[in-house]
Subunit: 312 residues, 2 copies
């Protein structure tokens, strides 16, 4: 039998379940999106996922496996969904086993942040890397580690929480009494609040809605001193946390994705400057700090890759 | 052929090279110490090491390999010593190949911090762990990671530098422009300086020599408020850095060794309290934070274990 090349990747989001047939990192057909909130519980929703898989297999009988990324607490080693964030009725569901029985296919599950990171590692920005850190900048700061070419999950499968690393032991209050957690400085909401405050101090009135990452990027590109200053400060804060990650993990690649990362150079340049200024040359001379490239498809592509590897 | 059980572990220190025959984690015979400073360069010193190995093999012909831990920059994958700290004449020495040719044995080399950590993992405090962080508190703060039962070394074999993680982005100045690096707070020298200063503020005159970790531990045990306060503060600082490690790596075991760690409960209790107060229960409920148990033999035992695994 020849080596399988094609799998289904499923990105299980809180408001939409997206899917596609993926061959060697390329999406070749997409499934109909499913709204998870339209189903009363896991049984009916799993039935809908099985129907979706069956439909995709009609045109693609060569499909060798299904990989599913989920937003929540997932035991990828035993195939069990412990609980999901914002989707009710998913407590201790042996999803891999149920879907395998319904489809006969190899089924893998993974935490969504890990799946996205794996997609970037296999087919996106971090291709060719061996020790890779991925962070996602949005409402919060998510993260995932790929070490020695494999997802590293940790003792309770919780590894990668860069957003909770403290950059100031007496800093901004955060959850769990964890003062100075990175997320409290660079989350979407925090960035907007800080911008409004900085503009006010400069005698300008702006609303939170005026201060999206996109608007602040445009402002910085036109030389707006408040925006430039804020991006520099965000770069220092992110760069401090990432420098600590670099000292601890000595990665070859850091991938930064998510909405805030779309700001590009106005954010990446200060981050890279800060990492370099805080680490020994040995640790940063060959380090790549680069934007994610797969966008919203990273999860689908990563899950398909994980399923293929399990099917081999 | 039965599985080998016995190897020589060598702990190559800047002032003394210690060695022993080790069987399943137990030292069964010790070699004569060698003073590395008594040799003009690597050739003569390697000759002395070969003679030492030959002597130990007379009584123990079953020896299957030799593992050497060195203080410096070491390529354990290719068996090359790039350079040593405080020992001249060791630039780009293919030590494993040379000693293998002289002895016929499997020879491994490792960075000394990694070798000590591996000893604690295989036969000491961290036995039974899967994802282990080891830190050593002395003049500096060293560290090493064992992930999925294996030493994790990183892209340039530099991983584990917990001592350079920043706990305050605007904190104490340190090397590489890295403000707030943990080592600047909890190194031996810094602890003594801070104690002298705190006693002075309390109206008491103490010298640096009065303020060794041992003396400060005794003072804390007799209720000395300055000493108790300082150990609590050191625990908060170490606990903040370790909480960041816990969020990122999600280990099952943290081992703390080195002279400062001999302070015991007066240090460990505040460290554990701080880690718990800064992390989600999932991350700390099953986490062990424990003192190293192999003391000065950790390196010898770890190197012997690494040599045995390579010989298998």
């Amino acid at each position: 039998m020849s080596k399988p090349t094609t799998a289904i990747g499923i990105d299980f989001g809180g408001t939409s379940i997206k899917s596609a047939v993926v061959r060697e990192g390329q999406i070749i057909a997409r499934g109909e999106p499913i709204d998870p909130q339209a189903f009363a519980g896991s049984d009916a929703l799993i039935e809908a996922m099985a129907a979706l898989i069956a439909k995709l297999r009609v045109a693609h009988p060569e499909i060798a496996g299904v990989g599913i990324g989920l937003p929540g607490f997932v035991d990828s080693e035993n195939g069990i969904v412990h609980s999901l964030t914002n989707v009710a009725g998913w407590d201790e569901v042996p999803l891999c086993q149920i879907l395998h029985e319904k489809t006969g296919l190899t089924v893998t599950i993974e935490n969504d942040a890990n799946a996205m990171a794996y997609g970037e590692f296999k087919y996106g920005a971090a291709k060719g890397g061996r020790h890779v850190i991925c962070i996602t900048l949005g409402t919060g700061v998510g993260g995932a580690l790929i070490l020695n070419h494999k997802l590293y999950r940790g003792a309770q499968l919780g590894a990668g929480e860069v957003g909770h690393m403290s950059i100031d032991l007496n800093g901004r209050p955060g959850p769990y009494g964890n003062n100075g957690g990175l997320e409290e400085y660079v989350g979407n909401q925090q960035i907007a609040e800080r911008a409004v405050e900085l503009y006010r101090a400069a005698g300008l009135t702006k609303t939170m809605e005026d201060c999206t990452p996109k608007a602040l990027q445009q402002a910085a590109l036109t030389g707006d001193a408040v925006a430039v200053g804020l991006w520099n400060q965000l770069g220092i804060e992110l760069g401090t946390a990432l420098a600590s990650v670099v000292w601890l993990i000595n990665p070859d690649t850091i991938v930064i994705g998510g909405g805030v990362a779309l700001a590009g150079d106005v954010l990446f340049q200060p981050i890279i400057r800060e990492i370099k200024s805080r680490t020994l040359a040995l640790f940063h001379e060959q380090l790549r700090v680069i934007p994610a490239t797969l966008g919203n498809d990273a999860g689908i592509i990563g899950n398909a890759a994980l399923a293929l590897e399990a099917a081999e």
